[in-house]
């Protein structure tokens, strides 16, 4: 504490001033940090009730995914095209490369493009939530409460998604996807997106039990221009989502010396292709 001519009174005065300063600072800071998630009202829930019925679980059309991988290829740029050709060649000769074997999330837009697992869609006030069956395609949060993308948002696997309803179509805008995540057209054909990906989606019922996800994807570091595609999901009402832990496949069940039930890691092949050792 500095000695001042106020003597002993100075520290007390200083504490008072400091306290006031904190109060002023707090008052100044408050308007900058807006409430992102206000309390929901009965009217908010009533509005949710007017949205289209997307209940049940949705099964991706894998055959259409496979067809489109060749019939509607993205406009790959010259830098990545040789790698894509190489991966298709490996696939066609029965030596597909494992692109997702680390069980990291498929991320956006690969979840929508190549996912083989079911998903469900939840509506709550101000938000649409996509829940996938496997932990490699587990969760997307789409904010529909009118908020913009944050000015400074840290890149994530699924990016930052905002959406709004145009009639019965959910319009979604997604940015800030991690550059290391794979832009995939098949499980064995993918390249890192290398950043600046922008995904626009229009999601709507195309029939009683058919959901279409129309995508327009900009990926300026791997594509020469925007790419459009539609992914198809079919409704299933007789079953629930089943837990799918991706990395479980790297382990087998066993029992330790004390009789405990345990997981034991299975050795993996180096080249990423499946192999079977002779017993």
């Amino acid at each position: 504490m500095k000695t001042t001519h106020f003597g002993l009174a100075a520290p007390l005065l200083g504490m008072v001033l400091l306290g006031m300063g904190s109060a002023v600072l707090a008052a100044d800071a408050a308007p900058e940090k807006k409430v992102l998630n206000p309390p929901h009202t009965a009217a908010d829930y009533a509005a949710v009730g007017k949205l289209p019925d997307w209940s049940g679980i949705w099964i991706p059309d894998q055959r259409d995914q496979n067809r489109q991988a060749r019939s509607n290829p993205p406009p790959w740029n010259a830098k990545v095209k040789p790698r894509i050709d190489e991966l298709f060649k490996a696939l066609d000769t029965g030596q597909p490369k494992l692109m997702f074997d680390n069980c990291m999330p498929e991320a956006m837009p690969a979840w929508m493009l190549i996912n083989h697992n079911a998903m469900e869609v939840l509506f709550t006030p101000g938000r649409v939530t996509l829940l996938g069956e496997s932990d490699s395609n587990r969760l997307r949060r789409i904010y529909t409460d009118g908020r913009p993308h944050p000015e400074d948002v840290y890149p994530t696997f699924h990016g930052h998604s905002i959406g709004h309803w145009e009639g019965e179509t959910l319009v979604v805008d997604t940015i800030s996807i991690r550059p290391q995540t794979l832009f995939a057209v098949l499980e064995a054909v993918a390249v890192p997106n290398n950043g600046d990906v922008h995904v626009k989606e229009r999601i709507h019922l195309a029939g009683k039990d058919t959901l279409h996800v129309e995508l327009e994807i900009e990926a300026p570091n791997v594509l020469t221009g925007p790419w459009k595609t539609t992914r198809i999901f079919t409704r299933e009402r007789r079953y629930d989502i089943v837990e799918g832990i991706c990395i479980e496949g790297d382990f087998t069940e066993s029992t330790d010396k004390d009789g405990n039930s345990i997981f034991v890691r299975i050795p993996k092949s180096e080249d990423g292709t499946v192999y079977v050792k002779k017993p």
Binding site: I59, L91, D92, T93, G94, Q95, P96, L98, M99, F100, D101, N102, C103, H116, N117, A118, E133, S134, S136, L186, E187, A188, E236, R238, Y239, I241, V242, E243, G244, I245, C246, I247, E248, G249, D250, F251, T252, E253, S254, T255, D256, K257, G259, V264, I266, P267, K268, S269, G272, T273, V274, Y275, V276, K277, K278, P279
Partner: protein, 126 residues
């Protein structure tokens, strides 16, 4: 218990389950189907791909071997009517598979019949 432990580890390591995380099924020859016949050794109801180990009789010049057969995820199979109890160790089966292109004793599941009950096990979308 010790004996059981080594047996379990033997199955886990020696067979080297093909059910590796998140792979394409292109290593299986989709234009070719073969029939194997044998006994279920293990039915691994695990993600992301289920694995069925069949101690199979010699086939097409190949000696007796344990074949590692893969199918899709427990979630997808549940919706095709399968469960963790669809196959049990000791079940005698006739199974149609799409073999590994490498020629090793493995493949992708296509269909099966459990010999003693006559029950057919299918993939609904085939």
């Amino acid at each position: 218990m010790k004996r059981f432990l080594s047996a379990t580890l033997f199955i886990g390591v020696a067979l080297t389950a093909p059910a590796q995380a998140h792979h394409s099924f292109a290593m299986f020859d989709s234009n070719n189907q073969i029939d194997i016949e044998g006994t279920i050794k293990e039915f691994a109801w695990t993600n992301p791909h289920v694995a069925i180990y069949v101690a199979a009789k010699p086939i097409a010049g190949k000696p007796e071997a344990v074949w590692a057969i893969e199918a899709t995820s427990p979630g997808n199979l549940t919706r095709m009517g399968w469960s963790k109890g669809t196959f049990k160790p000791g079940d005698r089966v006739k199974m149609t598979i799409r073999p590994l292109r490498s020629g090793e004793p493995g493949g992708a599941f296509s269909k099966a019949v459990i010999v003693d009950t006559g029950k057919e096990v299918l993939l609904k979308n085939e």
